[in-house]
Symmetry: C2
Subunit: 255 residues, 2 copies
């Protein structure tokens, strides 16, 4: 029997420390192939590249692991991996480990999660991992530990149909993490505040900035779990239909 | 009493014919402000711009309508409109009219829909409109007709909490459209096929290409409605939690 085939992708780019930690975390679990962006792609959401062609180059960055970098977005990386790199259907796609949280509403903006969503659309069991630590010196050890455990569970038990996982790991050493909670996405948002500056020619430009505000007081959310020292696992779907809204519109609208 | 304040955005860029049709469709309904990308942004998904600053310039493209173009993504346009352009909370955000379908799984890749999702996150009732016609000579008249009707309904009746609308209009003249159906997102996907070419220096490059495949035989989907001559309205949410997956993981996984 062949070993499981595992695709590794991320959004921070192929040279980021998080993808190295993830490759080492899943290396004992199967045959690993890496296809990752050639430059950082944070905040790319589910962007795909349709107005220019893509480049794909084999590189030698991880000992004994077939690796490629691609000029596209995280979602592009998964698409081109499936069509041009992998010679059989992967058994698992792992994305990350992202340098920074993708909890709550950040799932929408996250390139890490869009890669995992794209893999799920391709019928590949998939998961995105993110470490809630933006510092350059962030330690990925605890995140890698949980990445291996969750990956093993997916390979052993599978996932519900059309469902992937969004896993966030708190900024704590391994021995201070309280365990794992399966959660719902907290109702939280970014309150924007653009920072206005002037260029040397007197013209304005704007930096996107903002504050993350959690309005959700539930104890079953990813934000609660992370704030209380747990690893959060949110099962995620790509059906965006607000099913309750169908009856509401049919009852209340004249169309 | 002041007139409703309506924000118009798109992803095809401020010079696209679809946004002009949309501005004219909603002009009689309130005070209209346009903030749209300065270049085409199709396929940008929910991308935001965090690695470079944004530019925002007032332009004079629509008679009597305050208009700006922005160097960012569709989601950026909504964020900067709310923070820097609008002096009160908009009553409605309309996005489009997109040049091409955003039905089914295309909602994930769509810049048109990500702008509407972003507005929904900001608490603004919002809707994305797309015309299922990719041709340069596409006629936006029927789409504009339904854009006005749906916008009037939202202003009159509101929308369920945290819900926006994805409206697609079939490629038919107005008198051949059968009516409007409220639908769920069809379970369909793109099957990728990258087209491989060589540049003048002998190096490979790849164009993303593919075929849209609808595996969903339901008659309550957007694909069914569009194929049968109806305008499709899918209520959309930004909570991606697969709620049924929470109990499944808690029951079946050892964590």
């Amino acid at each position: 029997m062949s070993k499981p085939l595992i695709l590794v992708v991320n959004d921070d780019g192929i040279t980021a420390p998080g993808i190295r930690a993830l490759v080492e975390a899943v290396r004992p679990l199967g045959d690993v192939v890496v296809v990752a962006p050639d430059s950082p792609q944070s905040g790319m959401g589910h962007a795909i590249t349709i107005n220019k062609p893509l480049r794909l180059h084999q590189v030698d960055l991880f000992e004994g692991i077939q690796s490629y970098h691609c000029s596209g977005t995280p979602a592009d990386c998964v698409k081109i991996a499936v069509d041009k790199v992998m010679h059989r259907h992967p058994d698992l796609c792992v994305s990350g480990i992202n340098h920074g949280s993708n909890s709550s509403i950040n799932v929408l903006y996250s390139g890490t999660m869009s890669a995992a969503v794209e893999a799920c659309l391709e019928g590949i069991p998939s998961v995105g991992f993110s470490l809630c630590d933006y510092r350059h010196e962030a330690d990925f050890a605890a995140a890698a530990h949980y990445a291996r455990i969750v990956s093993q569970q997916i390979l052993a038990n599978g996932l519900p149909k059309a469902t992937l996982l969004n896993v966030n790991i708190p900024q704590l050493p391994l021995d201070r993490i309280q365990g794992v909670k399966v959660c719902r996405q907290a109702v939280a948002k970014w309150e924007e505040e653009f920072i206005e500056r002037q260029d040397p020619y007197g013209r304005n430009y704007y930096w996107l900035s903002g504050n993350f505000v959690n309005h959700d007081h539930g104890t079953d959310t990813d934000e609660w779990a992370l704030a209380n020292g747990y690893v959060s696992i949110v099962p995620v779907q790509y059906d965006l239909t607000a099913h309750h809204g169908i009856a509401h519109l049919n009852a209340n609208w004249k169309l």
